[in-house]
Symmetry: C2
Subunit: 143 residues, 2 copies
DNA sequence: ATTATAATATGATAAATATCATATTTAAGA
DNA sequence: TCTTAAATATGATATTTATCATATTATAAT
């Protein structure tokens, strides 16, 4: 469903959301293992997200990645959009070009409602909320 | 959301579902254009689907691809599985390994219901039904 | 039977995604 | 200020997905 890059990004960000903050930064090498993602690859992804201000980072000794309070207000939908580019996620199931109620593709009626519902949830659920569930052991980050 | 291969496969099969039958076969070169897919590529995909008996074909003069009555009973879910392999479509959003209610990933609660609902619809809607909508102009195959 | 036609099988190339490696820059602490 | 530790920037390689090209095989029609 999602590309590896997207899955890796979500896992890394949620890990940071749950276990880091400004006074508790986490280094690449300490992120890669628990979420089971190649170190150099997750480094690249997080560097990209840092540039886009979805995660925070500081270099040098005592440095690392973390989520600021502001970052924690973000959501998974925006994260996905950031890593896989604009509208891949919200596009029509059969094409990149839009299809809509007045010119529906074969799968539009069948899928539209569920897809919108899912998108809505991915937008309205904050990283902070998801991190809370993780910390309470209600959810897990799969390998 | 879906790979090009999956999108192409669905479009081609629905096109055949709507406009072909055993006595009205359609050649590769006459499929590629209307659904806007590279000819050699859709050829490869349809050949694969033919091998897997999801579409029918006959070679030689007067030959081409078509959907048999039996093929028309198929659904989009099985089609997707056939082209992109086993369980990519039904897997957890964050990983290939299963996550479930008793060991939910961070997105499980958020996505599970909608995803199941969508899968269900993709399974229960026959190609014949979708083709009917196409023929009646109720839906279109996007470019 | 021969010819023409269309799928089939196969392999080559291109582009995108995923992965690895490393020199450079920033910043903390001695 | 020097050393060390971390992200950053950049580029190389590998794998997968997408695309192109073509020789082979089956079959209808003459």
């Amino acid at each position: 469903m999602f590309s590896n890059t997207v899955k890796y990004a979500i896992k890394a960000v949620l890990y940071l959301a749950a276990y880091s903050d400004e006074s508790n930064k986490i280094m690449i090498k300490d992120i890669a293992n628990p979420i089971n993602v190649p170190m150099a690859y997750i480094a690249k992804i997080l560097q990209d997200l840092s540039r886009k201000n979805l995660v925070s980072s500081k270099r040098g000794p005592k440095g690392g990645f973390y989520l600021s309070d502001n970052n924690l207000k973000g959501n998974v939908h925006d994260l996905i959009e950031a890593v896989e580019g604009d509208d891949r996620i919200s596009s029509c199931l059969l094409s990149l070009s839009e299809c809509n109620a007045s010119n529906p593709c074969s799968l539009h009626d069948l899928a539209y409602k569920e897809k919108q519902f899912l998108m809505q949830k991915l937008k309205e659920t904050t990283l902070k909320t998801l991190a809370q569930d993780l910390k309470e052991g209600k959810t897990v980050l799969p390998l």
